[in-house]
Symmetry: C2
Subunit: 248 residues, 2 copies
Amino acid sequence: MTAIEAQQRGVPKSELLRRHLLEMLNSGMVPHDKLSTERELAGAFSVSRLTVRRVLDRLEREGRVYRIQGAGTFVSEPRIAKSVELTSFSEDMRSRGLVPGSLFVEIERIPAGAEVGYALGISPAATVVHIRRVRTADAEPMCLENCYLPGHLVPEDMVLAPNDSLYAQLSGSYNVHLTRADQTIRVTVLSPADADALHVPPLSPAFRVERIGYDARGQAIEQAQSLYRGDRYSYELTILREAITTAP
Amino acid sequence: MTAIEAQQRGVPKSELLRRHLLEMLNSGMVPHDKLSTERELAGAFSVSRLTVRRVLDRLEREGRVYRIQGAGTFVSEPRIAKSVELTSFSEDMRSRGLVPGSLFVEIERIPAGAEVGYALGISPAATVVHIRRVRTADAEPMCLENCYLPGHLVPEDMVLAPNDSLYAQLSGSYNVHLTRADQTIRVTVLSPADADALHVPPLSPAFRVERIGYDARGQAIEQAQSLYRGDRYSYELTILREAITTAP
DNA sequence: CAGTGGTCTAGACCACGAG
DNA sequence: TCGTGGTCTAGACCACTGT
C-alpha cells in the first residue's frame, strides 16, 4: 500500500482517499474481504483517523462497505441498486447501459400559473420556461417530460442543447446547483395521446413522477412532471435504517 | 439556551444533542430561521464542535436544515416527503396518518425453491416461512404482500402477531436487525384474483415491489414481493446530490 | 485478552459570505 | 475585515468481537 500522492489543488484529502478506496473496491477485492483497519489506513495515507472515518461513513451509506464493531470493515456484496442519488435522466440512463437522447416537442415562455407558481415559490404571473421533451433510451421513447424553470434562470438568448443535461448547462452558465429534490411517484394509465408519444398501446401502465428541485438554499429551481413507460422503467433503490431514532 | 442534561446511561452525547435540536426545530422555529453557530452550540451543550457537526450533518441529510458556508445554518422548509428511510409497512402507514392492519391469508413452511433461495442466499431445499398477508390502512386493503423468511430465523413455536411489525418481533426475540434493503419498484396491472383481494377493479394499475432485506453483516433476512394499490399509494422521497463524485 | 470500530475532545487552518 | 461553515490533526477512552 503506497502513500497517497501529494494533495492536489483544492481537492480535500478525504476525496483523494475516497477515490483510492473506490479503486481498491472496484478491482482486486471481493465481497466480505476485510479492509485495513482505520488506524492502518490513517497511517498509510498520512491522514488522521477521523478523516478515514468520514470517508468510510460515506462508503457505508452508499452500501459499498459494512462495519462490525470489534471486528473490522468489510466489502459489501454488490447490489443491484445504488443508494438513492439525485441524477439527471441522462446519468440515470447511462448507468443502466442505455444511450440517452431527447426530442424537443415544445419550448416556450409562459406565465407560471397557480400550480407551477406555487411549486416554484414565485408569482403565478411570473414568466417560466416550459420545456416539453420526449426522452429516449437507445433511440426508443422512455419518458415524457414537462419541465418548468423560473424565467430569470434562463436568459432569453440561451441555447439549450437537448441532449446535454439541463443541470449541467445551468450549473455551467449560472451558479445554479441542484442539491435536493422532492419526488412523488404514482402509477397511472396513459391517455391515448401520451401513449402515442411513447409508442405504447393506450391505457398502458406508467409511472407518473412529480419533482421539485432545490438549490442549497432551499430555493425551488425546477418543477417537472414526467411519465415513464412502465414496461421499460423501474426504480431500484437501496434504503438504510438510520441509527438511533426517537421512539416511533 | 440551557446546558444539556447529564449524559444518560449509554446514550451518546450526539444523540442527546440531536433530540434537543429536533425539539427546537419542531417547536418555536420557522423555515429560514438561523440556528446558533456551531461554536455556540458546542459551548452551550458542552460538547466539541465536531460532535455538533456530526449531528448537523445528519439533520442536513434528513432535510431538516441547510448550511451556507460563511453565513450559517438555517431551518429548512418543511418537505412533503421525508428522506428515504427503511420503515415497516406499519410505520409507513402511521406516518401518513392511517391506521395499519393485517389479514393473514396464509402462513406456511415450505422449501425455498430456486428464486427465493437465491434471493436469500440459502439452499433451494432449505425451509422458508412464507407469510401472505393483505395489509390494510384504515381497514381498507392497501397492499398484498408475500414475505419469505429463512426458516431458521423463525422458531416453529413462534407466534406471529399479524398487526405488529415483523421486524420488531424478530428484533426482539432474536438478534436480527434489518439495516438495509434493496427494492425494485415496477408498475403493473392487477390480475383478477389480486384485484379482488385488494377490492379494486381488474386491470387496475399497481406498484409491484420486490424487496430483499439485509442485516448489518449483509446477510439476507427477508425477501418480499408486494402489490400496492395505485389509487391509494404513492412514493414520496427526498433525494440528495452528494458532494464531490468521480467524473460521471 | 488484544484489537477493532464508536464516540469525543481541544485545538488549528482554510474558503467562503456578508457588511 | 470578520465570522461562518469545511477540513483536518493527534490524541483519548469506551464497547464490542474474537481468541
